[in-house]
Amino acid sequence: MAAVEVPHDEQAFLAYVQGGGQVETTDWLPEDYRRKLIKFIEMHGNSELMGVLPEREWILRAPTLQRKLALTAKVQDEVGHAQLIYRVVEDLGKPRAQCLADLVDGKAKFHNVFHYPTKTWGDVGVIAWLVDAAAIISQKALLKCSYAPYARIMKKICWEESFHILHGRDVILAMVTGTAEQFELVQEAVNRWWGPLMQFHGNPIAKEEDPMYQWRIKSQGNEEARQQFLDGYVPQIWELGLTVPDPKLRKTDDGVWEYSEPDWEELKHVVTGHGPCTDERLALRQRFIEQESWVRDIVSTA
C-alpha cells in the first residue's frame, strides 16, 4: 500500500478526482482545473460579500434589538466567509484585490438572488430562511469538493449557515403568528422570491456534462440540488398556511417535484449584471473599497 500520489497527467488526474480523490494547494493541478476552481470559488466569495448588502439595509430598521443584533451577527458571518473563501482563491493564484476589482468592474459574477431588492422585513425573513436554505444545499455538497482546502473551510461555513436558517425560520414564525398584515408581508415576500429561488441552482444541465461536476468541484447536479430544496422546504412553506406562486408545483407519485419552467433568460440577464439592484450594490461596494483603503494600507504596513 504505497502512499497515494496525485497523478501528474490531466486524464489520470480527472480519474483520480472522479474516484473521490482530493488534492492540496501544493499538488500538481491541471490548468483547466485551476481555472475552473478559481472561477467557482471566486463567485462563491463574491456572493458571500454581496449577499450581506440586502440584509445590511435592514440592520437600522430591524424591529427589535434582538433582531438587530442577530442580523449584525449574520452579516459578520457572511463577510467572514468571504474572507476565508478569498484566501483559498488567493492560494490558487488570484489575489483578493484582483477579485474585488473584477467584482466592482462587473467582470465577475455573484449569485442571482443578491441582485434583488429587500422591500420589507418579510423579505429579510425569506432571505434568511429560504435563500439560505437553497445556499446551504449547494454548500453542503461542497464538503466533498475535490479541492481539499475549500472543502475544509466549508465545514465552518455550513456550521454557521445552520444558525442563519434557524434565525430566518424564527423571523418567519414570529410574523406568521402575528397580525394579518405581518402574515401578508411574508406571503408577498415568498411570491417575490420564488422565481429567483427556482433559478438559484442553475439550469438542469446533466451533471455529467457540467464541468464543475466533472472535476468534482461540485458533488451534485443542479436539478438534484433543486429537488432537494423543494423536498425539504415546500412542505415547510405549506404547513405555515403560505402558498407557493406556481400552480404546476406538485410532488409526483415517484417522489419527483414538478414545477413551471423557471425563467432562464431572467437568470442569465440578472447574473450578467442587469439585476434590479446590481448597479446600486456594486456602487456601494466600490465606495467602501475606496473609503476603507486606508485600513488596508495601515494593516499591510504594520
Partner: protein
C-alpha cells in the same frame, strides 16, 4: 503574511487545520483568528503558525514495502487453521 490556523474544539482533542488568515504580525493574526474561529466559543485553543514556518513532508519512498510494520502485512488465517488442525489431530 499568511498564517495557518489550527483549532482545538475541546480540551484534549487534536488541533485541526481550519483555514488561514493574511495578517502582518501575530497580534493582527490573533485578532482575525479570534473573530473567525472563536466568537461562538467553538474553539478552546488556536495555533497560529506562519505558513513559511511549516515544514511539509508528503513524499514517501516505499522501496522496501514496509508491510511488516502494519497489520495488513500479516495473514495468519491459513497458518492458524493448520496449527489448529494439527493440534486436534494429535500430530503435535
Amino acid at each position: 503574511m499568511i498564517w495557518e490556523i489550527f483549532r482545538q474544539e475541546r480540551k484534549g482533542q487534536p488541533f485541526e487545520s481550519a483555514g488561514s488568515v493574511d495578517a502582518p504580525d501575530a497580534e493582527f493574526a490573533e485578532a482575525w483568528a479570534r473573530e473567525q474561529y472563536g466568537r461562538r466559543g467553538e474553539s478552546v485553543a488556536l495555533w497560529l503558525i506562519p505558513r513559511d514556518a511549516i515544514h511539509t513532508v508528503d513524499k514517501w519512498a516505499d522501496e522496501f514495502e514496509l508491510k511488516y510494520r502494519r497489520v495488513d502485512g500479516y495473514s495468519i488465517k491459513a497458518r492458524l487453521k493448520e496449527a489448529r488442525e494439527r493440534a486436534s489431530a494429535g500430530t503435535r
